[in-house]
Symmetry: C2
Subunit: 259 residues, 2 copies
């Protein structure tokens, strides 16, 4: 497979002969205000430029949205992606939203999705914030649901893109069930003022390797959005301290990995 870190959680993936664009956020640098209710609300998003042209991102077979928060599916993406593009969403609610935005080929992922030529994509569950956050009706609904994706094909390594989740039991169960060789973790450590981290951070790389010692981790969702506090440099330092630097790949924006 060829996995390219574009910016924030936006990835392109060539897998089993197919090409996917995942969680496109396509705005120009500083196009929209920073998220509030967390650190650095004065910084505008995205904090950095796209490393490639939008045109290069649109030569794909389908777009997959793990959820529809602005930093995964922004107004620019809604405008720039052709309305005929096949868009896969995690649930009916997101599909209804995307259809209302004018897209005509929208499908809801099932738990297991078999494609022709042996590709299977599984949808996994996560939790986009702490347990206490999901006891707050307003923030619980705002953070809502976000899925993960597991790509399986006989000629490819198994790839688990965990999505926007903190460390919860469903994440552990996905590691145990699918035994992925490659795990993409959104390790930007986005932090809500009231309820703490809403995605993963540096410690979760180590924890993942304690459960799957042979896995390779690829980090994403870093240094592009105002509430993401963990830098690649800090993460790199952590992996060196823990002796896991060979198992944790930290691609720059625009960098491709052949896995």
């Amino acid at each position: 497979m060829k996995l390219t870190q574009i910016r924030n959680a936006t990835l392109t993936l060539e897998y089993a002969g197919k090409r996917f664009l995942i969680d496109p956020m396509l705005a120009e640098k500083e196009a929209w205000p920073g998220f509030v209710g967390n650190a650095r609300p004065h910084l505008r998003n995205p904090m950095v430029d796209l490393p490639v042209t939008v045109a290069e991102l649109l030569t794909v077979d389908a777009v997959i949205l793990t959820h529809t928060h602005t930093d995964h599916w922004d107004e620019a993406a809604q405008q720039l992606i052709p309305k005929e593009m096949m868009i896969y969403t995690q649930n009916e609610q997101d599909a209804a939203l995307v259809k209302a935005q004018g897209f005509v080929n929208v499908r809801v992922l099932e738990d297991k999705n078999r494609f022709i030529d042996g590709l299977t994509i599984y949808k996994t569950d996560g939790q986009h914030g702490s347990n206490d956050l999901y006891a707050d009706p307003v923030l619980g609904n705002l953070l809502g649901d976000a899925c993960g994706l597991v790509f399986v094909h006989p000629d490819e390594k198994t790839l688990y893109i965990a999505g926007d989740t903190v460390w919860v039991k469903p994440y552990v169960r996905s590691l145990q069930r699918f035994q992925p060789e490659i795990v993409v973790l959104n390790t930007g450590n986005a932090v809500n003022d009231l309820y703490g981290p809403i995605i993963m951070g540096k410690e979760d790389t180590l924890r993942t390797l304690q459960i799957l010692p042979a896995a390779t981790i690829v980090t994403s969702h870093m240094e592009a959005i105002n509430h993401c506090l963990l830098t690649r440099a800090e993460l790199r330092e952590f992996t060196l301290e823990k002796g896991i630097e060979d198992r944790v790949l930290i691609p720059a924006d625009g960098e491709s990995l052949f896995l």
Copy 2:
């Protein structure tokens, strides 16, 4: 329905003309040592007697096990329950265990289980401990999985027995999806020394009513096992403080509720 609190999480339920025994722990008082790794390891379990004879508990159509921890399915239950009893388990692993114990009618619950005469039982997910606990491979496996149960019938109120879980997003999603009128919560506040609560506590009654203000909560899994720290008296005091005493029923062992 008629719901009877037996002891710890053991319940009998008459619902839509059927009678279920849930999570039977049938040992005599102090028959086995206290759980270790948490408060009061010197106290033996169960801490109290059964309030009825075992014979009265066996006049049921089926037994349902939310999981197979000793305080929900003990050696006494395995010995005293006839081997022909229909036993429903949450997953294949628990079914294999129960079959190995000699039971010959064992079925694994699906996510949705439709019975004749309009009864449907849904299986729900939970998390039997904190997120950090599930990052510890040993304790994560020890606490493992435990399901919840939702009973639905046109002539009955919808009943959600949440099972051994802390407050996590899947619990909130079950409340939102099924809109249960009755919610059974295991509020004994069992606490692991390293990773904190492994079931619910008093605050979770209030949080539940903030999401479903019209629901009635029935509390269980209290004052029978050494690691359960919340007493009925403390819970009662909390509900009075918060003005939710009419919405939180705290049955004594042996007490039946007609709901």
